[in-house]
């Protein structure tokens, strides 16, 4: 599904965080957001997933404008945040049950097990997630993203705390998700990784779009040089 953002502005504590940000993500493409801390990456993802209200501007998914307070406008997207966004006192299994219920799926134990096994969490599925390590939480979040088949996926720093094996699993997942035409918007710091998976890279600076690079028409080296050059 195509995501369109036009003229998005947002302020927090009377500070401008986003200033007239506009871009369009084509259906099924992987777009990465790069930028220093506080450049507005997380805010964009939170607005797109209706966690934060739209200051001014317009956001639409598949041509349909999303409004705060309209549950149907949250139907197509899933947000996997910087924090786990899961309940610490619930086990992995219960958390996944809960999330799948929120999206009206009511997944069976077998199905959840399958997703947990893929990320090798099945041995810990009945443990309360407050006892999880950061890396395990990160994997659990990927399991959530895998379990909920939303056409649009927003990921905030998915690589944080992932070990090499976890990162490989994540890359496999991205390939799987691209096959089913999932649209992805990923905020991260890791330039090398981004150059490997992205179809397009958007860099942010002080709440505005700095660079917008389409990796289909330019080489990875050029893009990498441009990004590091503008720093």
């Amino acid at each position: 599904m195509q995501v369109e953002v036009s003229g998005l502005c947002k302020s927090f504590y009377r500070q401008t965080v986003l200033n007239k940000v506009s871009f369009t993500i084509l259906s099924g493409s992987v777009v990465c957001l790069l930028g220093p801390n506080g450049s507005g990456k997380t805010t964009i993802l939170k607005i797109l997933s209706s966690i934060a209200s739209i200051g001014s501007g317009k956001v639409s998914i598949n041509g349909k404008e999303i409004f705060p307070g309209d549950p149907s406008s949250r139907k197509f997207s899933l947000y996997i945040g910087h924090n786990a966004s899961l309940y610490p006192s619930l086990s992995a299994l219960e958390n996944l049950f809960f999330i799948s219920g929120l999206y009206g799926l009511n997944a069976s134990v077998d199905k959840i097990d399958e997703h947990l096994r893929f990320l090798s969490l099945d041995n810990h599925r009945d443990k309360q997630i407050k006892f999880y390590s950061q890396g395990m939480l990160q994997r659990l979040k990927l399991a959530v993203a895998d379990l909920i088949p939303s056409p649009v996926l927003y990921l905030d720093e998915p690589l944080n705390a992932l070990d090499q094996e976890g990162a490989n699993l994540f890359n496999d997942l991205i390939i799987e998700w691209k096959k089913v035409n999932r649209t992805m918007l990923i905020a991260t710091h890791n330039i090398d990784w981004v150059l490997g998976v992205a179809d397009r890279i958007i860099t942010l600076k002080n709440g505005q779009i700095d660079l917008d690079l389409d990796l289909k028409v330019m080489s990875k080296e050029d893009a990498g040089n441009l990004i590091t050059g503008s720093g």
Binding site: K46, I51, G69, Y79, L86, E94, G101, L102
Partner: protein
């Protein structure tokens, strides 16, 4: 909705924080009252309804604080804020669960309350339970609304009681009055109006909470 309630119940079952802390707090306040109002049993009987509702109001603040603050751990509330559900339902589930927890804690400390204050039970238990249910739900419904408002405040612990006590004053008056009438075994017709006030309050605050919760939770 069932999903949301189930989540709250499991969370509480794992920690038992709310019910236990509310119960112990209620017990402690009862003890302080017993010391502070060391008067004749006859007078105590007249004070008792008021004291009871003060204890309930105080303990509810404790529970409300916890009921909402644990959502912020790991940003857990973002899961349902971004999900395609009617966020008003989250308010209603909080209301229901908060009511259940408060009532559980209350059932535990109400026996010591009667024992410590030497109150004899010569009134209609059924009416008494009824007024407890109604009063609790009215307090919790306005309390959930206020806790939602104070969710991101850095002075939440102070803001909740500061806003709750004056806003809930009709509930305290109505519940206390009805309890007085129940203790005196007066016919229902004499105090019907108080029940009406409690119902109106409950319905208005639950409705407002359901309607406004959407606006409240978004950042």
């Amino acid at each position: 909705m069932g999903n949301l309630i189930w989540k709250e119940l499991i969370n509480e079952w794992r920690s038992r924080e709310m019910v236990v802390s509310m119960f112990i707090f209620g017990l402690a306040v009862t003890l302080v009252f017993a010391f502070a109002f060391n008067v004749s049993p006859v007078l105590f009987r007249q004070f008792a309804p008021g004291l009871l509702w003060v204890v309930i109001l105080f303990t509810s603040v404790l529970g409300l604080n916890r009921l909402f603050s644990y959502e912020g751990d790991m940003d857990a509330h973002w899961s349902w804020i971004s999900a395609p559900i009617d966020r008003g339902l989250v308010f209603l589930s909080k209301l229901l669960v908060g009511f259940i927890f408060l009532s559980m804690a209350e059932l535990l400390f109400i026996v010591p309350f009667f024992l410590f204050l030497n109150l004899d039970v010569s009134f209609s238990i059924l009416f008494f339970l009824g007024i407890l249910i109604l009063g609790n739900s009215a307090i919790i419904s306005i309390g959930c609304l206020i806790s939602g408002l104070a969710l991101r405040a850095n002075m939440r612990e102070v803001l909740i009681p500061v806003l709750l006590f004056p806003l809930a004053s009709p509930v305290v008056i109505a519940a206390t009055k009805s309890t007085v009438f129940i203790f005196e075994n007066k016919p229902f017709g004499e105090w019907r109006i108080w029940i009406l006030i409690l119902f109106t309050f409950l319905l208005t605050s639950a409705l407002l909470g359901y309607l406004f919760y959407d606006q409240i939770v978004e950042e």
